[in-house]
């Protein structure tokens, strides 16, 4: 009798685990968004510091120094460290074919951050490009699971 009730219980636990893995991955995409926001914010600060000298991108040395001494860029890369740990954890418990499409959500957040926080221009060509890249990452991720 116990075996009759035990059969449907196994997938229920599985579904719960997979749902948790999916939620962790969605949290991962938000972390990527936050990390990219911080890195861009810091990069803009580096550019502003050097703007009195000349315009354009900063020197290679300034970029190296920036990663370690600019608080925004440094915290951005720390978030990437947290992202990596969480993602590896999620990969253990979830199905890759579901997790890879979810991870491409990061592109959506980054595009929204670009427009809202940094007043970047959005046009149909850029939107299409981002959507196609998301599809590509999804297909590539799913292809790697088989």
């Amino acid at each position: 009798m116990s075996s009759v009730t035990a059969v449907p219980e196994v997938p229920v636990v599985d579904v719960e685990k997979r749902r948790r893995a999916a939620l962790i991955v969605i949290a991962c995409t938000l972390i990527i968004g936050a990390a990219q926001y911080l890195i861009k914010l810091g990069a803009n600060q580096l550019a502003a510091q050097q703007h009195s000298v000349h315009s354009g991108s900063v020197s290679l040395q300034a970029a190296v120094m920036g990663i370690f001494t600019n608080p925004a860029i440094f915290s951005g890369y720390c978030l990437y460290g947290i992202f990596t740990v969480l993602f590896v954890f999620a990969l253990r418990h979830g199905e890759l074919s579901i997790l890879y499409p979810l991870i491409s959500l990061g592109y959506v957040w980054v595009a929204i951050i670009g427009v809202l926080a940094f007043h970047e221009a959005m046009n149909p060509l850029k939107l299409t490009g981002i959507a196609i890249i998301m599809a590509g990452v999804t297909v590539l991720g799913r292809g790697s699971t088989k």
Partner: protein, 119 residues
């Protein structure tokens, strides 16, 4: 053009360099055991981390002059390179699905580039 070609080139080159990082990390991971010395004296892991660092420096340099919404999605070329290196160095199979993913990412990057030039 809001994001100069030089910044796009920096981010693309950074992504290609970063894709080697994954290869070195995987290579180094094969030689790992439970002892701490196997991590510290593992030159492949060190090269992997150094490679990621170099890739990050190029990414930050590119980001100081350009749009986040153009440059960040371009990092996805790294996935294409990782696919290529894992085929060359670890004999992983390139399936039709993986090729389709590569094609889509490349087309997406071209669209982004045109979108960047359009305004």
């Amino acid at each position: 053009m809001t994001t100069p070609i030089s910044s796009i080139a920096l981010v693309l080159v950074g992504a290609v360099i970063g894709s080697f990082g994954a290869i070195f990390l995987k290579w180094g991971a094969h030689a790992l055991s439970r002892s701490w010395t196997s991590i510290v004296y593992n030159w492949k892991l060190a090269v992997g981390i150094a490679t990621y660092l170099l890739s990050s420096v190029l990414f930050v340099k590119g980001m100081t002059n350009g749009e986040l919404s153009v440059l960040f999605p371009m990092v996805s070329v790294g996935y294409i390179c990782t696919l290529l290196w894992s085929h060359l160095f670890f004999q992983e199979r390139i399936t039709r699905a993986k090729l389709a993913g590569v094609g889509l990412i490349l087309i997406g990057i071209v669209f982004l580039g045109f979108g960047n030039a359009a305004r």
